[in-house]
Amino acid sequence: MSEKMVLMQGNEAVAEGAIAAGVRFYAGYPITPSSEVAETMAKRMPEVGGTFIQMEDEIASIMAIVGASLAGKKVLTATSGPGFSLMQEGLGYACMVEAPIVILDSMRYGPSTGMATKVSQMDLMQTRWGTHGDHWVIVLSPSSVEESYQLTIRAVNLAEKYRNPVIVLSDETISHLREPIDISIPPVLVERRLPTAKADYLPYRTDESLVPTVANVGTGFRTSCTGLVHGESGFQTANGHVAEALVERLRDKLFNNLDDIIQFETDRVEDADVLFMSFGITARGVSEAVETLRSHGRKAGSLRFITLFPFDDDRVRKAAGNARTIVVPELNSGQLVLLVKRVFGDSRKVVPMNKINGDLISPQEILNFLREENL
């Protein structure tokens, strides 16, 4: 192991990535398999001049980080399915007031308390549609410890840049995996834009970026925010046109910047006749399977979603090459596959591959699946 490398657990990497990205406020409530993030932050926040607080529940946790974010801090909370469910109303609030926040959801088996120590990928659609109302979030999916570190940095930067909640969607396995990672290169940090002039200040006025320059509370701007539909002033209105413009802007501030936000990792897509589309821990099994298939002369390829949401059909179509068959392995009863089917309709053969017993999908299982399904 080179000198630059340090051995870290996935959850520690999220905490350290957050710190490297400038996070100085953490509020959370313990839950397996995310608790090590809280434990790391409890120790590390005071060391870096930040604040750690254990709240009474996940509702309080997300609202506390929203408060700290409104006061200018870069913030993080971490949880798993049951806690993530409790955070949903706060997540919608953060979307509406455009508070930069980052949430780690380390997926465990559900529904309900499910199996606390078993892996799943069952929260995918919850990250996108968990809170009520039309809204848009950014969801990033690491598939290694190194990437847990890097994507947490990226999550903090994207949250600040677009003033939007960003979810790091990890899982029980990656959270508890130990791998050597390189944390020697200091990250490029993004700071939220702030208003300059107090005269004529309107918190939710935007330029062509569509990202408002909301003042941090306590900086003399006499700023206002509300989860009610609001105009540029930050005060409530029931005007349907203002509502429509607001919700459209919440979408467009992200969708006008998909090149900046969306990342995939592709492997030998160009000539593939069978393509795997996956995310997170499942992509690791896929990558080994592709290797084996190629060594046997089978033209297999892989597309791994690093950014899960926003999900852009055109970009997925372009990145997917011409493979006739697309296999979508995931640790749920079929969530990502719904999106992939939406992209390709009947133009390709889209085959779900699901595992819901709390174990991972192994490379061998993928090979067996192809054989059994005659793919």
Binding site: F52, I53, E56, A64, L70
Partner: protein, 264 residues
Amino acid sequence: MRLDLLRSERLPNIWCPGCGNGIVLRALLEAIDQLQLDPDNVVLVSGIGCSSRAPAYTAFDNVHSLHGRAIPVATGIKLANPDLTVIVVTGDGDSSAIGGNHLIHAARRDVDITVVVFNNYNYGMTGGQASPLTPTSSITTTTPNGMLDRPFDLVKLAAGAGATYVARSGIYFAKHLVDHLKKAIAHDGFSLVDAVAQCPTYFGRFNRKGSAGQMVTSQKDWMVLKSVAEKKTPEELAGKVIIGEFVNIERHAPVSAAAPKEQA
């Protein structure tokens, strides 16, 4: 009260004629004014309810959050920037039902924020349903035959949870209310003021409390100053609400945020 502490351009307010929320808001602004706080350093955080609309009429930074969640938001703001005076504006339902867990934990942590409960004994915004502070036997839309349960005593609840300043007042006693709000805001540690106000539209109408004017002036009949109450028998105090200062002790612990390590 300085009128420039209001956002005049947003008035008249949305409240019903005779609603007590405006009276509590005036007292709060008066208290902030008398304390000569720098308006740039005051943040008002509210939940959801008629009362929670109050901060939007003030010239301070204001955060209108979610039903019951003002206290954790305020906790986040205060810990992020301890120089700020952070005041929570909340209703009886907002603070004691859906937000009750946050209330007791903020009191336990002794976070240096002030919670002002605009207590109208019911859920005004949603049409006059029962709240955990609705007195037994009272009529609300969800207790058409009278409230069966006992209400919380908010003062005892906050005190029991560890609040280091707790007071109750009523809008009729305007100066008393202002004085206790001042003490609460100036207090170092978690403070709560139970500010009893009227909802003439629902609680008043359903319980035949008379006009808004009568609801205001009748407070002097059913509220008793703590100093007076101390000389009365329990029989004499039956049905009365005692107002005054109930807890005023030194902050017992630092805010639960970890303190930075001492430089060696």
